[in-house]
Symmetry: C2
């Protein structure tokens, strides 16, 4: 299996990050990683179809939003919080301020 | 022709705004409207295919990013800057801080 592509921090583009975050499932994934610790793929949204999640991991990774690390047959994910906070200050805070499912506020 | 749908400010959802802004042409449109004045559709990206722009106007309008007003056969656009700054402080500033074409900074 080829190495997993991750853009360098300086090469992360806002348009790609916005597109990656502009999906309700991917916003939920970001919320699940907000604590900062590395999490196993299978722990995050276990009820969602695996093929769909594979697509979302890649979209987030290629945009520079998450790091994805393979250990055997498992993938571990972390949010690239420091890189994103440096490149686009406040963007993740906006995402975390909204409900994970993107529902209208009460 | 039906009225043009615009969400109320309180109903604007972050996920929709992120998805709307997460496209290089739509980021360019936002840059063209950054001054705050109303602009005629035909003035903005005059070289782009009209059918493609029509799709982008609608994506931005339905997400709550722009106001679109019809006068005869022409459409006039304004950025919903106050609404967006209230709902998602700093988000437009991040978009304006990046080059319109999403190119990597020099």
């Amino acid at each position: 299996m080829a190495d997993l592509y991750h853009p360098d921090a300086a090469a992360i583009r806002l348009v790609d990050v916005l597109a990656a975050l502009g999906h309700p499932v991917r916003l939920e994934i970001i919320h699940a990683l907000a604590g900062g610790e590395e999490r196993f793929c299978g722990e995050i949204l276990p009820a969602a179809p695996k093929s769909s999640l594979t697509h979302h991991w890649r979209a987030l990774r290629e945009a520079g939003v998450i790091n994805q690390r393979r250990v055997g047959r498992k993938f571990y994910l972390t949010l690239r919080r420091a890189d994103l906070d440096t490149r686009f200050p406040g963007l993740l805070d906006l995402a975390f301020a909204e409900p994970a499912r993107g529902d209208a506020p009460e």
